[in-house]
Symmetry: C2
Subunit: 160 residues, 2 copies
DNA sequence: GAATATTTGTTACTCAGTATCAACTAAGAA
DNA sequence: TTCTTAGTTGATACTGAGTAACAAATATTC
C-alpha cells in the first residue's frame, strides 16, 4: 500500500480532520526524508501558493502530537522533521561536511537503553542517538558542498 | 586541583586571553552543571551588571570552539551548555516531567558506535545519545514542578 | 436551515541568537 | 616610555524561526 495512503489512514483513525491543505502538506512531507519546516513551507507553497506558512507549522505540530512525525535536532541550523509513521525505529549518522544523513538500526542498543534507564529508577519513554562524522568522500576531498559548522568534538579529538 | 583553575589553565594553554569578564563567566559556568545561555547571562549579571549579554554569548562560543564547553539540545526550550573539560564522556538521561538530568556512562556503547559508523564508511567524530523518560518520583506523583512539553514518543507508546 | 466547533490566513509579535561598529584595553615594537 | 597594532567589549540594531491573536471561512451537529 502507498505510503501516503497509509499515513492518511492513520490520521483518520485518530479522528483528525483531513483538509485539502493537510493532505497537500502530508503528500509533500512523505516525499522528503528529512526536511526543515521552512523547506516544507517552500515546497508546499510552490505547488499551492494559497497555503499559508502558519498552516504548515500547525500541521507539523499536529502530526507530531499524533505521533506520525518526529522532530530531529542535528546541531546544525533548524530542526529537521521526518515522517516516521510505519517506519521501524532507527538512529542517524550524519556527515558533518556534506550533510548526508544515514539511517541505521542497531538492535543491540535498544534493550541496553531500557536497562540504563532502569538503573536510575527511570521509565524510558524515548531516546535520540545521533552519530556525527565524515562520509567516505568527504574524508578524502572537499566535495564542494557547504561545510557545516562543526558541533563540538570530544576533547580528546580536539587536543590531538 | 580546583576545577576552575584547571579550566583556566587549559584556556591559557590554547593561547586564549583571559579577561576579567571571561574569568567571571567561567567561574559561574563551572558552578552549574547544565545551564542555558540566558541563565548564565542572568547569573553573571547578578554579580557584575557591567558584563554584557553579548560577552556571555561570545564567551560561550569561544569555549565551545576551544573544546571546553559542549552544547546540548534536550528537545525542550533553549540549548543547554555544559563545561565538559576534564570530565569523562557521558550520555544523558532526562526526566520529561521535572527536568532532572542524570549523567551516566555506558562504556559498551562507545566502540559499537565506531563500528556502526565504519559500516557506512564514515569516520566518527562525535555523537549525542540522550534518553528521555520519567524519574522515580514523577512516575508515581505529579511533583508540582513544571511539566515539559513532551518530545514525540515512539509510535508504539502513543497508540497504546 | 441555524447553531456550533474547527480550520485557516493575515498580521503582529516574541525571543534567542547574530551583526555592526565605535570605544576600550591589552600586547608589542621602537 | 610612546606609538602602533590587534583583540575585546558593550550598545544598538537586526535576523529568522517560531508563536499568539483574531476575524473570516469552512465544516459538523442539531
Ligand atoms: Zn535507537
Ligand atoms: Zn530518519
Ligand atoms: Zn556516548
Ligand atoms: Zn552532562
Amino acid at each position: 500500500m502507498n505510503r501516503l495512503v497509509s499515513v492518511i489512514q492513520a490520521l483518520k483513525a485518530k479522528g483528525v480532520r483531513l483538509t485539502s491543505e493537510r493532505q497537500l502538506i502530508l503528500r509533500r512531507a512523505v516525499n522528503h526524508l528529512h526536511f526543515s519546516a521552512e523547506e516544507l513551507v517552500n515546497d508546499v507553497r510552490t505547488i499551492d501558493r494559497s497555503v499559508s506558512r502558519m498552516t504548515v507549522f500547525r500541521t507539523l505540530t499536529l502530526l507530531q502530537n499524533a505521533g506520525l512525525v518526529e522532530k530531529h535536532d542535528f546541531h546544525y541550523g533548524p530542526p529537521y522533521y521526518e515522517v516516521t509513521y510505519g517506519k521501524a525505529h532507527h538512529d542517524h549518522l550524519m556527515c558533518m561536511r556534506c550533510g548526508e544523513i544515514i539511517e541505521f538500526q542497531e538492535p543491540r542498543w535498544e534493550p541496553m537503553q531500557e536497562e540504563a534507564a532502569k538503573r536510575y529508577g527511570y521509565k524510558l519513554l524515548s531516546h535520540t542517538h545521533k552519530l556525527y562524522g565524515l562520509c567516505g568522500s568527504c574524508q578524502t576531498r572537499n566535495n564542494g558542498k557547504p561545510v557545516h559548522k562543526a558541533p563540538k568534538l570530544h576533547v580528546e579529538e580536539i587536543v590531538a
